[in-house]
């Protein structure tokens, strides 16, 4: 039975329109280089996939990350931990609508255009229901906006893992609002925004510094994982260790919850990576396949390392490995071959295992839930491996026939990857330190010792996570 589908313009037609509009925009010297396409440019297939992807990424935060982190803390802090993620789902959303979308994806002015967007899109002004050509020519601008919002939500939520069980709820909210504005928005703008310094896409050229150091970061290895992971380390060092750490045993109160959370993260990550194709075609397929392969290989890598070291494979180890692989494949997902993804996963699994098990004990910092060990380290190594394994056959982002990665012949790309990583590290360290200092001086970051002993659930939220005595 033939489907009586509406006729959509061919890709060539869309390109012609886009070119026409683009030239018009340039010729008119408009304040923003953002070009809006007509509604007929929308592909229902692309939009359907993108809306699903956005939902999948939100699921990664709630309940994915909430459960993953929640199971790793002590019973008395389960709700407090979950609330930190949930608060991001609410607060970052409102902040995004008000100002941070504009800062991340708006068009900046002058030399600043490479580093931060402007205020033109505050309150989502000028974010159309028709496509924005420079970002995603076949889906409504608001689909793009809401998809990116889910990334903005989960990134700060990841940081909470480092200061688990000891941060005041109010201080965390203040910290996160400032972090979203001063660390996430600039980083997102540099890598993905129009005119961004690290933007590798040719359709977002604007301003003299645009794409000066094109960084291959398909779904946010630097923007999401390096920034959150490194910021996490800074907060862990600034706040100090939990009472009793490391002498007092603080094992996870429910690896079961963490297991469920990790599986939700794995499935949700298909939205995170494959959705970053911003379309439903073969690039999304590549990213989907790579994501899955990376997770699987990394789970085996971590588990294998554990087997060698402890003679046993733990459930927590296996799921942590999978998450590490998903982190590392994030920047690579739309650039590498499936075999490349297997390699990246395997290497990341072993690398992150060593970071969490060996390096953490050597330096003795209390990164409670290994936000740095998995996301900071995984994101860093993922970005570097992307520079090695990227292949133009999967994604000719620099132009047809132009090599993308080291093994294909583009030896310089690894340098650009390192620059992107270095900038992520720098902005995370400097930004996070300043914000921590300010919030600490204004309202204090850490709960009192008594509150820490009693637990966040009771002291911060007046609740108990589990009440089995009265069941």
């Amino acid at each position: 039975m033939r489907c009586m589908a509406k006729k959509y313009p061919s890709g060539l037609k869309v390109a012609q329109w886009a070119l026409g509009f683009g030239l018009l925009a340039l010729a008119s010297g408009s304040a923003g280089a953002q070009t809006t396409l007509p509604a007929s440019a929308i592909s229902n297939g692309d939009n359907a996939w993108m809306l699903v992807s956005a939902a999948l990424v939100l699921m990664m935060s709630g309940p994915g990350l909430a459960l993953f982190y929640g199971g790793l803390v002590r019973k008395k802090n389960i709700l407090g931990t979950m609330m930190q993620t949930f608060a991001m789902m609410a607060v970052v959303t409102v902040l995004w609508a008000v100002v941070t979308y504009s800062l991340a994806f708006g068009v900046g002015s002058g030399h600043f255009a490479a580093f931060i967007g402007g205020f033109h899109n505050m309150f989502l002004k000028g974010v159309p229901l028709t496509p924005i050509f420079e970002y995603a020519p076949t889906i409504p601008g608001q689909t793009f906006m809401v998809y990116q919002l889910m990334f903005a939500i989960i990134t700060p939520a990841l940081i909470t893992g480092a200061f688990a069980e000891r941060m005041k709820f109010s201080a965390m909210l203040a910290f996160m609002v400032l972090w979203a504005i001063f660390v996430y928005s600039p980083m997102a703008h540099m890598v993905w925004g129009i005119g961004g310094l690290l933007n590798a896409s040719t359709s977002t050229t604007f301003g003299s510094l645009a794409g000066k150091f094109p960084c291959l970061d398909f779904a946010g290895g630097t923007v999401v994982h390096v920034t959150s992971g490194v910021s996490a380390l800074v907060t862990a060092l600034y706040l100090g260790k939990r009472l009793g750490y490391p002498q007092k045993p603080m094992p996870p109160h429910s690896v079961v919850l963490s297991f469920v959370g990790a599986c939700l993260l794995w499935v949700g990550w298909f939205g995170f990576n494959a959705g970053s194709a911003l379309s439903a075609g073969s690039l999304a397929t590549s990213a989907f396949v790579n994501t899955h392969f990376g997770a699987a290989a990394a789970a085996i890598g971590w588990a294998g390392a554990e087997w060698i070291r402890n003679k046993k494979v733990s459930a927590l180890g296996a799921i942590s490995g999978a998450v590490a692989g998903l982190v590392a494949i994030t920047p690579a997902s739309g650039f590498v071959t499936p075999m490349g993804a297997l390699w990246i996963g395997l290497l990341a699994g072993v690398f992150c295992y060593l970071m969490v098990v060996k390096v953490k004990n050597v330096f003795g910092y209390d990164d409670s839930l290994d936000a740095f060990g998995v996301h900071g380290a995984g994101g860093t190594i993922g970005a570097i491996l992307t520079g090695l394994f990227a292949h133009s056959g999967i994604n000719a982002i620099f132009g047809p026939g132009k090599a993308t990665g080291f093994f294909e012949g583009n030896h310089g790309q690894v340098v650009n990857q390192l620059i992107g990583v270095a900038i992520a590290w720098a902005i995370s360290i400097v930004g996070t330190l300043i914000i921590l200092f300010v919030v600490d001086k204004l309202i204090g970051l850490r709960v009192s010792e008594d509150d820490e002993r009693e637990g966040l659930d009771l002291t911060q939220h007046g609740e108990e996570g589990y009440d089995w005595e009265n069941a």
Partner: protein, 112 residues
């Protein structure tokens, strides 16, 4: 009247309950406990950190019996709970001053 407290392996609880019923003892209170005598614990691993778990799951049971029944009860518990290995548990016996049935004020051995 004697109170008999026994700390046993959780896996032996069903056998001990049956053995007590067989000698005619119907009242029993069970506590889920943790502890150890000479039994060594085990190590658990979470993300590379070792946790020594030396408080092992145990079951503590309490029964109050007449003086005549005490030895029978003790033997029933021992027979049912013994494996011969370290960790079998212990029994403690103490005197009870009074026993009262809440339903109808009965006191003494008839309340047991």
């Amino acid at each position: 009247m004697q109170k008999i407290e026994a700390v046993i392996q959780p896996s032996k609880l069903d056998a001990v309950k049956e053995a007590l019923v067989e000698v005619g003892i119907l009242g029993i209170t069970i506590f889920e406990a943790r502890g150890h005598g000479r039994q060594k614990g085990h190590t658990e691993f979470y993300r590379g950190r070792e946790y020594a778990v030396d408080l092992l799951p145990k079951v503590k049971l309490e029964i109050v019996v007449s003086d005549e029944m005490a030895e029978k009860a003790i033997q029933a518990i021992i027979t049912a709970a013994r494996t011969g290995r370290i960790g079998d548990g212990k029994i403690f016996v103490s005197k009870i001053d009074e026993a009262i049935r809440i339903r109808n004020d009965e006191r003494g051995e008839i309340a047991l």
